[in-house]
Symmetry: D2
Subunit: 336 residues, 4 copies
């Protein structure tokens, strides 16, 4: 039902698999190291039906902060390792040529991750004709197709015509994603071999950028940079519930009365119950998450609802992330 919310309006074309699998147990493998969490899922036919995601590998890297140089380097190291693993799994050879595609709108900050990443890529394809390169490099070319609202051209058709003409051995697509949760914004990198599926879910293959449509491996790298305004309201309703229950439990806890800083309801496991939510939030408290989102969509549409929610320092964060991904790709594809 949530898919009736048209996230594509602000040009964000894809989304985060980890959010679909969060409630399904035992299908993903998780490793945490140095505060960086890597979650890997192989979506097979069975899971695909449940979560409405395409079959394939999904690797999700979650981290805290890339503005700190130490943490930036740690995340980059993990990113390179995971991208390398995926290339090996896909049997991509050392000398296979790569076209890297930066999706999105360079003139809208949260959607500019793709084009900005391309600025950091070491491009070599044209130099091979000249024999000017040592064999540390492979053939790499890049494409920034723009968005249909600016070019008038269907982006997936631009990509397929370029791929058919230049015949790279594989492609990497970089894109900004929409998240269903404000906690993940600019703090997650998703790597997948399933390509890009504008709109949502599987089935709409017309505009798909994938192995099925292009006949070469299609790796997609995405970062959630924005949440829908509906998401922030819906998230907040959940937080209110947790906060309320937490406060009720601790209202007579003398240790809290002495606390200088606010107690943090997020840090503790709280048993939530439905009754509390109803008391706190009335009818709204009785609705399921999807029902709330549908309600919010109905409520906000008449006011010409067209808002997005981003971190205040989004310009700076997107710059850091595109730098990390660009340099990470360089170190993975070339022997430098």
């Amino acid at each position: 039902m949530e898919h009736s919310i048209d996230l594509s309006k602000y040009q964000i074309r894809t989304d985060l698999a980890i959010e679909s699998i969060k409630d399904i147990k035992d299908i993903s493998e998780e490793v945490v190291e140095d505060n960086i969490k890597v979650t890997k899922v192989l979506v097979d036919d069975k899971i695909s039906k449940i979560i409405n995601k395409k079959n394939g590998n999904y690797i999700t890297i979650e981290f805290d902060d890339v503005t700190d140089i130490t943490n930036y380097n740690k995340v980059k190291k993990v990113f390179i390792k995971e991208l390398n693993n995926l290339l090996n799994k896909l049997k991509i050879a050392k000398k296979d040529s790569c076209l890297i595609i930066g999706l999105g709108n360079s003139k809208s900050t949260p959607d500019s991750l793709g084009p900005l990443t391309i600025n950091n890529i070491i491009v070599t394809n044209h130099l091979f004709e000249l024999d000017e390169l040592s064999d540390k490099y492979r053939r790499v070319s890049v494409l920034v197709p723009g968005v249909m609202g600016q070019t008038g051209l269907e982006t997936s058709d631009v990509i397929s015509s370029i791929v058919n003409k230049f015949k790279p051995n594989f492609i990497i697509v970089i894109d900004a994603l929409a998240s269903q949760s404000i906690e993940r914004v600019n703090k997650t990198i998703q790597i997948t071999d399933t390509g890009i599926h504008p709109g949502s879910g599987i089935g709409n293959s017309r505009k798909e950028i994938s192995y099925e449509t292009l006949n070469i491996p299609c790796i997609a790298i995405g970062v959630p940079t924005v949440v829908d305004a509906i998401t922030i309201v819906s998230d907040t309703i959940n937080y209110m519930h947790k906060h309320y229950t937490y406060s009720k439990l601790n209202i007579n806890n003398p240790s809290h009365k002495l606390m200088v800083t606010q107690p943090n309801y997020l840090k503790e496991k709280i048993e939530l119950n439905k009754k509390d939510k109803e008391t706190l939030l009335g009818i709204v408290g009785t609705l399921e998450e999807n029902e709330i989102k549908q309600l919010l969509f109905e409520v906000l549409t008449p006011i010409g609802y067209n808002m997005m929610v981003t971190p205040k320092e989004v310009d700076f964060l997107i710059e850091k992330l595109s730098n990390l991904i660009g340099n990470g790709i360089n170190e993975t594809l070339h022997n430098i």
Copy 2:
């Protein structure tokens, strides 16, 4: 109480007077022409105490859309007329020199209104030494002081030192504002002769840019470009209330059952009652707006809450608005 929410975190330093006076009757004069609404208030000692705003003139221009060229021109015309009126009221003479100051962070889109406007200003001050100008022009110079997070310098001190050195006859300050309502974002221009008061309300005169601190008229022009994430949640709770009441009233209305498009609860006057809100929203429904905002602030703080809400096309809108204000100022200050 709402002022405990630190809007200054994202560098937006001021706010919209019209939001403080909306519940006070008979103090403002309103004219609507061509879908553009102009509201004027003269805040005197008495009103100042009630709304916690500085004494002075506040002119608010509200409009729908500046991306349409016809509407853009209409809004510009009204803006020029009102700015001219204020100059006359302040007895600013035809040849008085003006320093125009673009506040804000040129590297954060919603906060870049000031610096972008300055790009459109016709600067003449240095040409007067050369006698190169016809007498259609007055002396105009500009300053983009940056924000303290980037320069390390207190912005108001930068401004006062430049004013003291160059001694303009008056200044115009352009700044992005924070709004308490998503409906006003990028659809309102405020002109005032009270200057700029970082932080909020009156009383904190240390960083004030005003007649009182600089001894020359200080006109401030502002556009709300952003709302706090708390605002969108709080607004949505109100919309839910209206929507709920509206739906209840019309649930058996046969005409609605035949409607193809969604009925619009905003277009009709609805009598809201407290009981409905409580049924819909439980305890939350019993809270006053300020109490809800305080609750939201408490709820969101532990999750490292640092979000802002902007229209999806904010980059494009800020460009248009800075163009309108810049050219409007040019036509007002010079005889062109």
Copy 3:
């Protein structure tokens, strides 16, 4: 011989026909109006052999200054008229769809004319699916293919694959040109129906963008934005000759002795003779222009010669010119 100077090094791919025909009499039609000179040539088989330019129409608009708003509007009017004429001559119908291509490197100011012009184009192609447009508009889409040094992809192959996929009825290509004369830089617009011929002259059809390669009309619009450093030296040698002869002639002219400002050798017709040039410039004075350029190329190559000459205010001029061309194309293609 001058073509051994590789202007393509700085990504400027084409050049100005008017410079090839300047010494051939009676082949062009010239009109001057309001200080704007329009020169039209139809290059046929015979002329093509002489000037090494492709058969077709070449329209050259020469003007003084586009930073002045009055002059800007005059030039735009002439540009629209001439572009319209050419569309009619090519029998392009009111509803024929157009792909507009901005060649060049958006990150090198003098080469950014193409990409910057695209920013000003009204794009409509994607809106036709939605029936959202009045019939004042035709289908327009845009492409910014980048330069091979940045993308790794041969630009003409990018263009041909997009044209083959989207099948526009005609294309317009915008590009920065190299000029052989500093007097023309940023003061000339060339419109032609011969397309783009990277490298130089005719014959190298591999990378050509033209009716012959794409099978649709290919209009090219170019502005010289740069001259090679060799050109400025060679031009200056000619100016020295004129200046010397002029000074010699006027050395005893009493009226000159009273002049406050410098006499202007350019404003008068002077009979130049070879002997003078030799006296002034020795062996160099005996060389033909092409021989001087060849000599300069030899002299400058060892010092890692890689210089270009631009007006000091090139950033500002390119912005104005791309705005003029973009808006001129909009008014020609759409009924607005």
Copy 4:
């Protein structure tokens, strides 16, 4: 005499000391290491009179290429060492506060070195109030005053009013310079403790930014990013002379006849004689360098001469250089 050529027209305010001292023996100390040449001069009263430069230390770092990462790091290391030496010589203490000023026009590529460098500076001054910093940092603030053509304000007055208000212990000024030689453009960094002297030479103290006017140490860091068009013509005339003499000497040298690549007249010591120059260049060959420049100025003025010469890849080079200088300053001023 060359100073009648108004380089200040394109906003470049200062110039390179090394070009004035090149003909004076034994006053400078030169070290070459790793292809990086460092020249140090202490201009005292006597030398000052000869070269028309202000008394003080001038350190010039000459290098080949900063687009190569290895070389970039070498140059940065030398830059940090020399800047540190100068701070020590000026007895600037570990905790002394610094205001860093980026001169120039951010909208004209070759003049944007100052503003771009500021973007890379770690600013700390405002954080000291909050006790948020470890003692690895000193107080650093920044200022980008713009150019008078854009602000209408005399730049030196903007700087002095900010210095007087904020009272830093010393300032560092970064500026793009004009060079008299194309070989030095973007390949030289000059560090000096004499400040900035707009216009030229000493004596014009009105707009000076220096210890004498501000009473604190004023370090200036400059890179030549542009040469005047007159310079390139004049340089080329000299190169023609060398090339001619070299060719004459080697015309019958059989080894040259077998050479595939062009012989390089620059790599060998050639005895130049006046007679050759006259034969080659006639009257022009008899003129001194300053006389030639004066002649060129006269010749080019009537054609509305307003050209500059830059490397073709100037946008990219300025980005690298501002990055090097910004990070070099960070590592020198802070303990990071």
